[in-house]
Symmetry: C2
Subunit: 612 residues, 2 copies
């Protein structure tokens, strides 16, 4: 509303500390962050009337149990309770001054103010609420005359309260609290069935409740860091002139082979079976139908014979019944065969997959815009459990024309540094909370990655280094030609004490479209290995030479016809180009210190039941 | 490299005009934009040595045909040609001064400089190249001694050239050109098969060449405006404290009914048939198998009988053969039946769909973060042709907790204004190009939408206004309860001369989860109608009352069990909330003046063949 102008400062201060609460533009309440995350902790807003909304994180009730017997004893109890309050809870002094010490528990209708002349109760509910804008919660003090404690107290209850901000009554970390004057809304919780009712919940236990878990501070902080990483990534690429391109989700190009891809089809028709399958269903069906037709012919002839010959009526009846049954069977098979031929009417007239990578499509745009990036969901139907990949992963892919391996490596390093620095600066509250609760090292790790130049070694050097290791025994032996596993990657990062870029991998370990090096054995690919998560970025210079690319497609056993359009890029105005893929969900793990990607994405998708 | 500091200015100028060319950080060349889009048109960079790369947009060759006969006649011809050059093409004066008038056509190897002492040719190729960074192209002047014209000239050829910037030799719109000294790379084009070889191509003709079409200036500009809209959208939401949430792509919740949804399955197993289907395939199969087993029993008995009786060998043989055939058939059917029962082993143990909307999932996050938005692909399997929707559409969805209909309407209006203003300011070059080539009104339209307050009318008022229309005849008659069509929407926008927000629709016209108004007939939904494209945003206050929502799910014939998690939101800490969906691809049409969404998205997906 008002902004404080500093003297001798011609430009308005971009982050003034307003002297008035600011109501949120689109929700008629004051966002808690604008109160709690001020430098003064909100003290500058004392005495202001606000409306705040949020969900109860914790609560407690301060009340006097109803006295067992006579009026006299009741009064004694009241006095005693008030005394306790006076000494322990300073704010109640004010409260008692205003409303007096009467403890009658008047159950007022929610949303109404205490009726004029009614005697307010001495039951007080203290609620800590969060609206997701800050890791800090606001304490709300609610008189039971305003709303019954039983409704307000369950964790997860939604409240919208109007009241006056006051200096916190409890000495502690919070400067300010809200004295509720009116409850505008209560969204109750059924404690029995609410999964977050329990005090401490493991992240793994929360995974089945993806629709509730952002209400926990940990998951909220993780997903807000994810939001920060998203923003940082776009900022980096836009600042460097990359054009954002939406790579398609449904694609005809199946880079991983059908066993690891999802197929897309409309409900009424199942997708065509992949071609390499041995005997197709239709063949079996046709064979069956033919066998049956032959049988029918034979039976029919036999019946004619029987009719002509002087066979018994029983024999003829049996043969006729036989024929009837076989005819029924033929009808069934024929009907099914016809419905199958409707696959011609597929939504897409060829097979459609969920994309495993946007990079091929992106390459075609690099050959027009120079610098491009995509940011979207990518899919893989691997049933094996992994803490770093899901069925649905978010990826950033980039591609740069007129660029070679070292350019992509430089860009990838700059990107990781920029993003690490950005979240360290802009998500400080959430990172601080996460480091208190879990991995203490996250902020240091981000800052050191943002500063130190990455180590660059070839794959061959990496193998050599790992082969010389004597202080650790690896579960899988490393030798030339073998992919590095997590333990090898962690060792290298520990060994060099900084992120490591490994490049020039054996061609067998990398996709078909990575550019073959002059040695004919290695390819111009690289992995960026960072502390905590291992490989975070995978990049490469792509093959722009038609003959090399064609050969690699054949060697990899891919369907060449699916790649005609991609080969076009080598035929028409080809250019050297390189780029990299960022495993965005893994980047969230890197920044938050978590270890399972299912906790780093709003709705994790993996083998098993889909909950929502 | 260097930045010009203004005197009396303490802060460095954020957009200095550098006096040195700046090499691109990740591709060892100078981005054309940094030369061509300077205020001085690049003049300040004259005489600097640069490397530039790009694709040929147009070309022409200035050369002297080889003389038919004797040395004398040859010399005459040369002189004549040089004279023509002198008079018509001023830059050649310089050229001739430097290299003399010798026209010997020496074919030098690409990439090499003219050999010392060799006589340079008088064939000059003028290439206009674009690297996608600017709508303007750079003219490159290539001596045939550097590279043969035939290789360079085809549209789409990729070149990487080193040379010196010089003042443009041709009076015209461009201030500067590059005199090539060396060709570092030529990516040739096969004119026969290159679809962009033709001079003028219609947008519709380009659609089958999604991997090439960003090389045309029109499609490039459209997709760069799309990039701008993407950036503007993120900026708006992040500025207003919205948390970006990735709504899932694969989902168990099928809001549109199976006929309009894509199913997701792994290759080896087709998805379960939808339950309402009459006789399932498996039943038919089991029935067939049973019939066959009965037949086998009968045949076996008969054979036993024949063996016991004194039948002919022929009769027994025939019966045995009969049995053999039927046994084979039984084996086949049994094997198939077994492989079908493997559907138990589906990747997701329940049916999985491609999401049609992220808003339900987003609502659960609004109940934690307050302000959330999602930006991702959404799918619908409708085969009907539409210029505004595809099978794969990009959508922005937002949801705000503690907010009602008018809050969402206000936010939607602010969003449309912000984004219109943003692209008008930041995509000026591309918009200017598009308005020259197509819709002249785009910039005015964006600016007026950014300024004028939107008109807000109820659906009932809209119908009333449309019913009073006498100056137009609508193809579809409008009456209460009927959805507005494109012609109605256009009329209203024309009538009010500004964007129109229509709200309070009959409940039958809106999704099940829109909040029922007190009249019991209308719902708290709204559409934002803008000039050129009609409905751009659809929003609503969502139903937070459990009993109302349950009833609407039943009325809409949806599978209640798919919505258990969604109903949870009404049961546990429910809150009033509202939000809206932006049809992002339609927004690209709005901003660029195009009329078919297939031209506004990198890789359009619709009914028919998938090309890539």
């Amino acid at each position: 509303m008002s902004s404080a102008h500093q003297p001798f400062d011609e430009m308005p201060n971009p982050n003034p500390t307003p002297t008035q609460v600011e109501f949120s533009k689109y929700s008629k309440r004051v966002i808690l962050k604008t109160i709690l995350d001020r430098e003064d902790g909100g003290l500058g807003l004392v005495d202001q009337r606000v409306v705040v909304g949020g969900w109860v994180k914790s609560s407690r009730e301060l009340r006097k149990d109803p006295p067992p017997m006579s009026g006299d004893r009741k009064e004694d109890a009241e006095v005693k309770c008030v005394e306790v309050f006076r000494s322990k809870i300073p704010f109640l002094r004010t409260f008692i001054q205003v409303f007096g010490g009467n403890t009658t528990h008047t159950k007022e209708k929610v949303g109404s103010k205490p009726a004029l002349g009614s005697k307010p109760a001495l039951s007080i509910t203290l609620l800590k609420i969060s609206d997701g804008s800050s890791v800090t919660s606001l304490q709300i003090v609610v008189d039971s005359s305003i709303a019954p404690a039983s409704q307000l107290m369950p964790t997860g209850t939604c409240i919208l309260a109007e009241g006056v901000l006051q200096k916190s009554s409890i000495q502690g970390k919070h400067e300010i609290e809200l004295k509720a004057g009116k409850m505008l809304h209560i969204g109750i919780v059924d404690q029995e069935s609410y999964p977050l009712s329990k005090k401490k919940l493991a992240l793994s236990g929360l995974r089945d409740h993806a629709h509730f878990r952002p209400r926990t501070t940990t998951v909220a902080s993780v997903l807000k860091v994810r939001n920060g990483l998203n923003q940082a990534s776009h900022t980096f690429f836009q600042n460097h002139g990359f054009v954002h391109v939406d790579a398609p989700i449904i694609t005809a190009t199946n880079t991983k082979g059908s066993s690891e891809s999802f197929q897309v089809s409309t409900s009424n028709f199942s997708a065509k079976e992949p071609e390499p399958e041995p005997a197709s269903t239709d063949d079996t069906e046709n064979a069956s139908l033919e066998t049956i037709k032959l049988l029918i012919d034979e039976k029919s002839k036999k019946i004619e014979e029987l009719k002509r010959s002087d066979s018994t009526k029983e024999a003829l009846d049996a043969a006729l019944q036989d024929l009837h049954k076989i005819n029924l069977l033929a009808d069934e098979l024929e009907a099914r065969s016809k419905s199958k031929s409707n696959t011609e009417d597929l939504f897409f007239s060829n097979q459609a997959f969920l994309t495993t990578s946007g990079s091929l499509h992106l390459e075609s745009f690099a050959s027009a815009f120079g610098y491009v990036y995509a940011f979207g969901p990518r899919f893989q139907a691997t049933k094996s459990e992994s803490k770093k990949t899901l069925a649905e992963n978010w990826m950033i892919e980039t591609e740069i024309a007129f660029s070679e391996l070292e350019d992509a490596m430089k860009c990838a390093e700059d990107f990781v540094k920029f993003v690490s620095n950005w979240v360290s600066k802009n998500c400080h509250e959430d990172l601080h909370f996460l480091s208190k609760r879990g991995d203490k090292a996250i902020i240091n790790r981000l800052n050191s990655v943002a500063l130190a130049p990455f180590e660059k070694i070839t794959y061959a050097t990496a193998v050599e280094v790992l082969n010389k290791v004597t202080d650790t025994t690896f579960e899988t032996k490393i030798e030339l030609g073998v992919a590095l596993s997590d333990e090898h990657e962690s060792y290298l990062v520990e060994f060099y004490k900084k992120p490591v870029i490994i490049f020039d991998f054996p061609k067998e370990l990398k996709p078909f479209n990575v550019r073959l090096n002059d040695d004919g054995k290695t390819v111009a690919a690289f992995d960026v290995i960072v502390p905590k998560v291992g490989a975070l970025v995978r990049g490469s210079q792509k093959e722009e030479r038609l003959n090399y690319l064609s050969k690699r497609i054949e060697e990899s056993g891919l369907q060449k016809d699916e790649y005609e359009w991609y080969l076009d890029l080598c035929k028409q105005g080809a250019v050297k180009h390189s780029g990299f893929d960022v495993m965005f969900d893994v980047m969230v793990l890197f920044a938050t210190g978590l270890s399972d990607v299912r906790d780093a994405i709003p709705f994790p998708r993996h083998h098993g039941k889909l909950h929502n």
